[in-house]
Every structure is written in structure tokens, then in C-alpha cells.
Symmetry: C2
Subunit: 636 residues, 2 copies
């Protein structure tokens, strides 16, 4: 592994202790994990890996396109174990560990003598393994189990599942590749690529990195593996439901891909894997491909919330600037995937283009997927609702709950980047981190009331004085940030501002303290005029938080309201609201029903009356009574 | 039959000769009829009724909800024959008649000894007739064949199909009813009700009216027939895909229904049947139920185009004021159905509430379903498109082409209403009608350039001078209409204005001439503020025509444009455009891309620049290159 890249610390190395995030981490521990375990049990997902149950459940076979989501059940187990691993870092829990150990025991007994491990192909379609990589999520399931194994090992020191998954990864490495007798395939749903990189890091085994690289390099090459694979099954490749291999980003070799297309979660996971390989190998053309895709996403295809993928049809991307609000699919997992991708782009060095987006997706489009108590979920994250979009307890494809759960429970992994002689501060989250830089153990502590307030205190405690660079992100939304070192304001000469990071190189001593002060005015965002759905509308943002109106806080239907350009918008912390939130209030005007009795259309414009608007952070919507929600407010 | 109701003339009685409509009628004759025949042939629909073809095609069995649209194929044949009947009135056509006669011969040979006639249950599911009225469209198919039989008989004098359908109707009458041994069922898709009323009129047989009345009266009663029927099939009524019987307007007895709900076409057809029965029987409570449903539709659930039913899920209604534009389903057949319903409400006397809506739906939401050449079709009629909604050649459920085709080809049926001593002029369409009023033959001729111009000349030629009332509609959009009789302006004392009709009672002599002069200013319509999707937007209407912007006529993307409230909008006839159209032009302003390079969101509002807008009638959109379309334009 290269020492010049900015590695993420493991979750074990950064303990989150933060007024905003700690309650959310606690809700994942007390809510999401037990609820998800129980619902997986009720759905039969846990029984499906039990070799002692001969008569395996078969569910949902008449699902979308006649395809069963049961094929991805192993991935839910992987994410459950991963999420459990992270919450066990917060404090061991014998009952939870016993449950996970029992699952691992089932996986151990399910594993075939050659290392193969996939419950669908062992129990439901024996003899058909590796026959439909395009559709069947076989390597995807392996990837999630690998990630689960790593997290559980790092939390508990128990390496049973890690060993199981190494055996399976070794079988996969023997099966796939360009060598004689090997299959030149790769998964229709990318995931295993980034998991294998993590496995290489966790085990120090470079061969897993090589396998990840192989999957990335092979993707989209001609003659096309999925064509050959379909014909081998007796199927017509042209008859595929999804039409183009754009759906799974296998339409072109990855370096030739220039547009973010297809299924949004697959895209994010693939690009994450590409970034990992680019960082680990220093491959400039792979890095450039990722940067091109990134620019395409953020300049043409991303919701203001960091959500993406407007269409339910392909769970993904459509056309440039096609960003409908009410019908936005914007899957929670896609915004989680953007956090993953951005964090991997940051492996190649601090750059706020990536960290700003990582933060945006985290605090908005991803976090919105989880209820405040951690027990209810969004799959789709629209930017407008008439009150008919509600959080659910369960979904036939339950990928989102453990995805947002594992992200929140492992948030420490995203706060810092650490290279041989630099520490980058990507996120402002109260935390205690034990890092190693310049061959020296350094404790880094953050204290902050972010995102409600814009002050962050960063304490540096090396085990002995040592020179390195501290790179602190100055968010793009904050042009007037101030930095202080031990109480004295840092001026231009004291640091270098590079790619949006204040880089402070010095000899750090115990209890050096850096303070970052970020003014947080309320911003009125406008969308590029190419975005037809946001024409004439404004979105409110303060710091990293995008706001929305909810029906419960506003006296009139939300699309009657217009917010004039010069009106003052007042932030205020309301500690009684949803566990404490900064709300935004402003005077507005609203169209009235006066004179409209019984009329649906008329010539005269509606009358207007003064009104007030109150906005809450987007992530917190639908935690109260059902009602309307609106991000893009009519401008005045 | 009652003499006090306003009967519609048959298509044979009113010959359309109109600069606007005659080319459209001709395009149905030369385009829609042969194209629809050919596509029905290609799809196997014509073979499906051929007793000589033993191996019947089975198509599309994996369609929506596993349900085959093949079950309604007989209805397509009924509508094909009906459409053919109307175009044969324009001039006999030996080749077309031979084709239709051959189809009728197949139907004759297919008919079972007891009169039963349904190709699905004869060939695909023998033994299952009348086992699933809720879903299987069995009586619906009969209704369309009945309408086809009447039209073909009236056009050609050939009564073979009429006799076939009378035999079938007699079997249906024997099968369904409240008598001993009869089934108390009714069709999930209303249609046969209005067809039976027409059959009673065409044959003079009151028993068909009684059967129609039975179907109306029985609908929605408890214990629910569809529950019992499902249980008899071994099915769980609660497991029905569509959930509530609101889907087919069978959730309550019809007099207790107060909201327009469910599948929009079914709703329109049912309400049409209710209006026919209310008119024929003078049933005040049934009339009141229809009026209640009408008010609900026009005050809360109707697009400005006369389209309705926003949702593809139920092909129908959702919630009050839920009228999304881009995703509007607004099936062509539903707008056609509104023409049917309105025309039936007019049986109870002239009332412009109904005639205005009949005209609105006809010229906008229905007519939009047919390309100018009569060969391409819309199923959905959205009010906004990004260029991805195009007319199609064929559809797995090809109900719309013959529905709009038969409406246009039989337009004469909708122009007048005739009672014992009054003629009502509902529509302004150049035509020559042979009517009978006050027991006297009266020729009524209209000459007009409507809807492009607002002057209409109506010549009355009784075979001898006779007193009756001429009731001329004054459209609701025209507050300043002028009426002249033989050149002299009619004043208040010369007529009575009642329910929006100028009623002129006098002794009419040969070549009396009434002129109606309607100023046609361009109107800016606003939607009720409850309609969130139209907030801050205006729709343009001139006379009966709703307008839209198309990309091809406008230099900038349509949602960048705003039209200020006081700008002058100029109508102009462009004889080179799409066969001749009045377009609307105005100065506007547009947001520019200046300074937006690479940015998707920013704080500063977009710059604006002057721009021009040009609108064309909504019905004519997508007859040129693909591109954007917008009805509701941003207001300034």
C-alpha cells in the first residue's frame, strides 16, 4: 500500500462524541440494528443461510421483472453484521454478539468445501453459480459479507467470518481473471471492488487489491462478457429488460465512460472502487476518468440535497438537468454511495470539491433516509411531497436501512484523511481520534456544535512534538472563515490555501489548538436555468444543511407561498423541536382562496396575503404527522 | 321514449362541412380507419374472431398485473366497425364495406346457438363466461359491438350485425337481472349501459333501456356482487389488485357516489349511462347524482385541457386538485368520455355548463390524441413534456385510436339537441342538418370559421313556417357575444337567456338566418391556488382552444420563459403552419446561462434577457419534430 495516499482511519480509531451525531449513532444502535435484525428474521433472510433448515423460504418470486430480491439476501446479512460491528465499537453487547456469532456459524457451515458462499445458489439454484453475473448480485453479496467480516473483526477481534470471507475471496480470485481457464466476468452490481480493497487493507494481502483492480479493468470490454454469458444460458443478450449495459455501467471500459448513467447505487459503488484503485496504484488515467464522471454528476445530475437518480424505472440517471422534485427517486443508498465515492476521491489528497459533496450528501440526501429514532426508513427521497410519501418499516428490497445505518455507525471513518506526513480534517464532527502521522501517534480531538453553529475546536496531541501538515477544510459555502492557532488568528502567510483546505505545516506540540470559525448565513440557492423543475424557485441552505418546508409548520399549502428575494430569513435554535433543530423563519406571501369557490380556473390572478414560512432541515422531514414537504420554494 | 328530452340527431342527420373539422374527418377516413384496420389485422385481433382459425393467437399474457389486453379485443372490433360506419356516411366505399362485412360474417359464425358472442371466452377460456365481470370486460365488449352494429346499420342499411347484437343483448337480458335464476351482476368497465340506450333508440325496443337501467341501478349494491363472484371463483375479494371498488365506480350505489373516482374512462362511461337513464326516465335523484359528480369533476379534478385522471397507476383519479402536468396520464379516451358524458347531460336540456365542457374536451384533451394526418396517437396527454413524449403507431391496449376516430367521424351527433319543440345549438361546426321539430322537417345550416374566428351563421329552413324555440349556446368564455336575426341585432326582449343559451321562440320561415358574433380575446387562465402544480403559472386560451408552447417555435427552453401579466398577446392566422392555425405571440423574458458554466446551483439569481414566445393550439402539438411542450407558462 502506498504511503502517499490519504488513508481513512478505521471506525475503531475515531470515536464520535458530538451533540448532533451521537444521538443519531445511538439511534442506530438502539433502533436500526435490532429492528433490522428482527425484520430480517421475520422475512426469512436469517433462516435462508441456515444449513439446518432444509425447506428454504422462497419469497417474492413475482417481484419486479419476475426477479426475486431474495437473490440479494446475503448482502443484507453482510450489512447487518457490518452495522453490528460498528455499534459494538461503542460498547460490547453480549446479546448482539451472540446473535451475530450465530449467523457467522451458519455462514461457516453453509460454506462449500471449495470456499463458495452464496445462499441463493447453494439452496435455490444449485449448479447455476457464476452463470448470470449481470443480474444475480453474486459477487455483490460477497462484497457486503467481506465488509461485514472486516467491521466485525475490527470491533471484536473475532476473525471467524474474516477467515471465511478470505477463503471465499480466494475462490473468487481463482475463478475470475485473464488467466487460462478463468472467467473474464465481473459483477452487474459493483460493490466487491471496494470491499476487496478494504480486505487488502485489513489483511495486508495485496492479492485482494489485484482482484479488485482486475474487476475494474475488465468492466465493459469487448467482446462483452454479459453477451457471451447470456448466450451460454441460451438467452438473447438483446432481450435484456434494461436494454443498455449503461444500466450497470458496463457499456464501455471504465476509462472511456464520461457520463454518470444507469442505476445510481451501482454507479456510486463502481466509481468508489475506481477511486480506490486510482489512489492505490497512482493510475493517472483512472483518476482522470473519475474526475470526469464527478464533474458530470455535480454539474448536471445531482439534486441540491446530494441525492441523485431521478427515475424509478432504472433506479437511476436519466438526462442532464432532469431533476424532477416530487417524483425524484433519489434512493437513500445512492446518497450513501456518494459519501463513499467522495471519501475515496479524497484518498488522492484533500480537495474540498469532494469533501463538500461528501458533507452535503451525508447531512441531507443520505441522513433523510433514517427516522430520528432509527426505526423508520425512506427508500426514495423526493424534494417535494403532497403528504403521501411516508417512512416505512420494511421494503421488499431492504437495502437502505443498513446502508444508512452502517454509514452513521462508522462516521469516524469519514472525518479524517491521514497520509505519511499530513492529517486532513474533512468533516466537523465532535470526536476523539487516535491517528499516526510522521510515525508518531497523535490524538486529535474535535469539539463543535456543528452544523447548528459554525465554530470548531481541534486539539492536536502528539505523543511528542512532531512536524506534519494539518489540512483543514474551508467549506465552499463559507467564504469568510477564520482560523486561529492557540488563540491567534492565522493569516495568509501562516498557511497555504490549496484546493479549499488551509494547510498548516508546523511542529505540533501537545495541546496545540486550532479553531475554525465559520459564519453561517442563510443562503438562497438557485438552480441552473437548465433545470426546468426548479425554475423561479429558491432552496434554503445554512451551513451544510439544506432546508425544507413541512406542512405541519406552515399554515397554508406550500406551493401557495412565495419568498421575496430581499426578505430577511432568521435562523433560531428550537430545542423543543425534534431533539433540537435550527429552524429558519421569514415573512412571505400566499395566494388566498378568496373568490375561488367552486372555480378551478379563472382569468383573474389569485389574491395574495401576508404569510410566514418556517423551514426545518431536510433530513428531519416526515418525523411528525403526514403532510406536505417542499425544498424548492417559489421565489418572489 | 320521452319527447321532452333533447335527443341527439344521428350522424346520418348532420353532415359536417367545416373548414376546421372536415380535414380532420377526412384524416380519420383516409388515415385512422385503414391504419387501425391494418394494425388490428397485424396484431391478430381480426383473426381472433375467425371460427376458421383453430389455433388462436395468444398475446400479451404477461401484461399489466398478468392480465391480457387480448380480453378486450372484441371491443376494438366494435369500435372499428363503428368508425367505419360513420366514414361510410361520408361516401360509400366498397372495399371498406367488404372488409367490415367479412368481419361481421366472422362474428355471425362465431356467435353461439344461445346468442353468446365473446371471442375470449369462446376460444381462450371456454366454460368461464360470466365468471369475472369485475375484470374481464365481457359486457364492455358487447357494448362496443352494439354501438358498432348501430352505426353500420345506419350508414349502410345492412342489419346483419344489428340482428346479431340484438340476439346477444337478449341473452344478456335473460342472464342478468333481479329475477329468479338471474345473475345480479354488471360490468367492471361500464359501457354497455350507454350502448343499450342507443340500441333501444335504434330499434325502438324498450327492453334494452330497461336492461341498461338495471345495470345502473344494481351497481355498488350490497351484498357486493364482485365479492360473491370472486369467492365463487375461489378468489379472495380482498386480494384484488386495485383494492377498492372505487376503481370501477362500484364502491357504492350510484346515487350515493359524490366524488369522481377510479379509472377515468370507466367513470365517464358510467356517468354517461346514468345521464341517459335519468333523461329517459325523468329520475330526479339520478339526475342529481350526476350533477353532483359533474360539479366534483369540474371544480376539483379536471385539467384545463378537459383531460382528466392524472395517475397511470389506476388510469384515473387521485386526490382533489392533484393535477401534475408532466406526469399527467389524462388518457385520450377519458376526454372522449367527457364529451360523451356532457352530451348526455345535455339530453336534460340546454345548459352551457355541459356544452362548454363538451367543447373544451373535444377541441383540446380529446383532439390532442390524434395526429393531424390521423395515423399517430397519444394515449396519455400530459400538459408538459421535455420532448420524450411522442405519438405512437400502436399500443398494447389500442383503445384510444378508434375512440377519438369514432368521435370525430360522428361529430354531427354532438352539434344539436332536438326536443319536441326546440332545437339547441350546442357546438359551432359548419354543417347541414336535417332535423325534425314541432313535427316539421327543418334544415339547419351552419357556416363558420370557428374556432379560428368567432362568427357563426345559422340558417333555418323549415319545410313550412313553424313555431319552435332555437336555443343558441353563448359560451362561458364569451361575455360580449352579439346575436342577429336576419341582420338585426337581437335585444334582451327578443330572447330569453337561460343556462347560458339564448332561447329564441318564434315562427321560423324559410331562410331565416341567425348570426352569432363572439369576440375572441386571448385569456390568461390561472388555476385555483389549491392546484400546487400550476402555482404562479398561466395558461393561454382563445375561444375554445387552450394553447401550448412547443420547443420548435421557441428559441429557449420553455421553463426559462416568463410572461408578464400586462404584455399584449397577439393572435395571428398562419396558413402555412400545420394546415393553418391561429398562433399566439408575445414578448417575454428568459433566464440566461450567463455565468452558469459548470455550476448546477449558486446563490445569485440567473440573469434575464428579452425573449419572444409563440404558442400553438394544444391539440396540434407533437406534429413536428420532437421537443419540449408546456401549457402552464410561468407568470411574471
Amino acid at each position: 500500500m502506498s504511503g502517499s495516499i490519504f488513508q481513512a482511519p478505521t471506525a475503531a480509531m475515531v470515536r464520535v462524541d458530538d451533540p448532533f451525531w451521537s444521538p443519531r449513532v445511538a439511534s442506530v444502535r438502539s433502533g436500526t440494528v435490532p429492528v433490522f435484525y428482527e425484520r430480517c428474521r421475520e422475512a426469512g433472510i436469517l433462516d435462508h443461510i441456515d444449513p439446518d433448515i432444509a425447506d428454504k423460504p422462497q419469497r417474492d418470486l413475482a417481484g419486479i421483472h419476475g426477479f426475486s430480491t431474495q437473490r440479494f439476501w446475503d448482502s443484507d446479512i453482510g450489512k447487518l453484521i457490518e452495522m453490528a460491528g460498528y455499534v459494538l465499537l461503542l460498547g460490547r453487547d453480549a446479546e448482539l454478539e451472540a446473535r451475530i456469532d450465530a449467523l457467522i456459524d451458519r455462514l461457516d457451515r453453509m460454506q462449500q468445501p471449495d470456499g463458495y458462499l452464496n445462499s441463493w445458489f447453494i439452496y435455490q439454484e444449485p449448479g447455476k453459480r457464476w452463470t448470470n453475473l449481470r443480474d444475480d448480485h453474486e459477487l455483490y453479496c460477497a462484497g457486503h459479507l467481506i465488509e461485514g467480516a472486516i467491521a466485525y473483526f475490527q470491533a471484536t477481534g473475532k476473525r471467524a467470518l474474516l477467515d471465511i470471507m478470505c477463503r471465499y475471496a480466494d475462490l473468487i480470485a481463482a475463478t475470475f481473471g485473464a488467466g487460462p481457464g478463468q472467467k473474464r466476468g465481473y459483477c452487474g452490481h459493483p460493490e466487491i471492488e471496494l470491499a476487496l480493497v478494504e480486505l487488502a487493507r485489513a489483511t495486508g494481502e495485496k492479492r485482494y487489491l489485484d482482484l479488485a483492480r482486475y474487476f475494474i479493468e475488465e468492466r465493459g470490454r469487448q467482446p462483452h462478457y454479459y453477451d457471451a454469458e447470456a448466450r451460454a444460458r441460451g438467452a438473447d443478450p438483446a432481450a435484456w429488460h434494461f436494454g443498455s449495459y449503461e444500466y450497470c455501467q458496463a457499456h464501455l471500459p471504465v476509462r472511456e465512460q464520461t457520463k454518470v448513467v444507469g442505476h445510481a447505487v451501482r454507479a456510486m459503488y463502481l466509481y468508489s472502487g475506481m477511486a480506490e484503485i486510482a489512489a492505490e496504484t497512482g493510475d493517472a488515467s483512472l483518476k482522470a476518468a473519475g474526475e470526469r464522471l464527478w464533474r458530470d454528476l455535480v454539474s448536471k445530475r445531482l439534486y441540491v440535497t446530494g441525492g441523485m437518480g431521478p427515475s424509478a424505472t432504472n433506479e437511476g440517471f436519466t438526462a442532464d438537468y432532469d431533476l424532477p422534485n416530487r417524483t425524484a427517486y433519489a434512493e437513500t443508498c445512492a446518497a450513501v454511495g456518494l459519501v463513499f465515492w467522495a471519501s475515496r476521491m479524497l484518498r488522492m489528497g484533500p480537495d474540498r470539491r469532494y469533501a463538500d459533496m461528501m458533507e452535503l450528501a451525508l447531512y441531507n440526501g443520505a441522513l433523510s433516509g433514517l427516522s430520528l429514532d432509527g426505526t423508520l426508513f425512506f427508500y426514495e427521497n423526493p424534494l417535494e411531497s403532497r403528504g403521501d410519501h411516508r417512512r416505512w418499516k420494511w421494503h421488499r428490497c431492504p437495502c437502505c436501512p443498513p446502508n444508512i445505518g452502517r454509514l452513521i455507525a462508522s462516521l469516524g471513518r469519514y472525518v479524517y484523511g491521514v497520509s505519511a506526513d499530513a492529517i486532513a480534517v474533512h468533516l466537523f464532527i465532535g470526536s476523539d481520534a487516535k491517528l499516526t502521522v510522521a510515525n508518531t501517534a497523535v490524538r486529535v480531538t474535535q469539539r463543535t456544535h456543528y452544523p447548528w453553529e459554525g465554530s470548531v475546536s481541534i486539539t492536536i496531541e502528539p505523543e511528542h512534538p512532531v512536524e506534519f501538515e494539518l489540512a483543514v477544510r474551508i467549506p465552499g459555502w463559507c467564504p469568510n472563515a477564520i482560523l486561529r492557532l492557540n488563540g491567534a488568528q492565522l493569516m495568509r502567510g501562516d498557511m497555504v490555501i490549496d484546493a479549499g483546505y488551509a494547510r498548516i505545516r508546523r511542529r505540533w506540540s501537545v495541546r496545540d489548538r486550532v479553531e475554525l470559525v465559520m459564519p453561517m448565513p442563510v443562503e438562497r440557492l438557485r438552480a441552473n436555468p437548465e433545470v426546468a423543475d426548479d425554475a423561479g424557485r429558491v432552496a434554503l441552505r445554512r451551513g451544510p444543511l439544506v432546508y425544507c418546508l413541512e406542512g405541519v409548520d406552515n399554515a397554508v399549502p406550500l406551493n401557495r407561498l412565495t419568498l421575496a428575494d430581499r426578505t430577511t430569513i432568521t435562523p433560531a435554535f428550537d430545542d423543543a423541536l425534534l431533539g433540537g433543530m435550527v429552524t429558519l423563519s421569514a415573512a412571505a406571501s400566499a395566494e388566498t382562496s378568496e373568490g375561488w369557490e367552486g372555480a378551478l380556473y379563472r382569468n383573474a390572478p389569485p389574491n395574495r396575503a401576508p404569510a410566514a414560512i418556517k423551514a426545518i432541515p431536510y433530513f428531519a422531514w416526515d418525523n411528525r404527522d403526514a403532510g406536505e414537504m417542499l425544498v424548492w420554494i417559489r421565489g418572489g
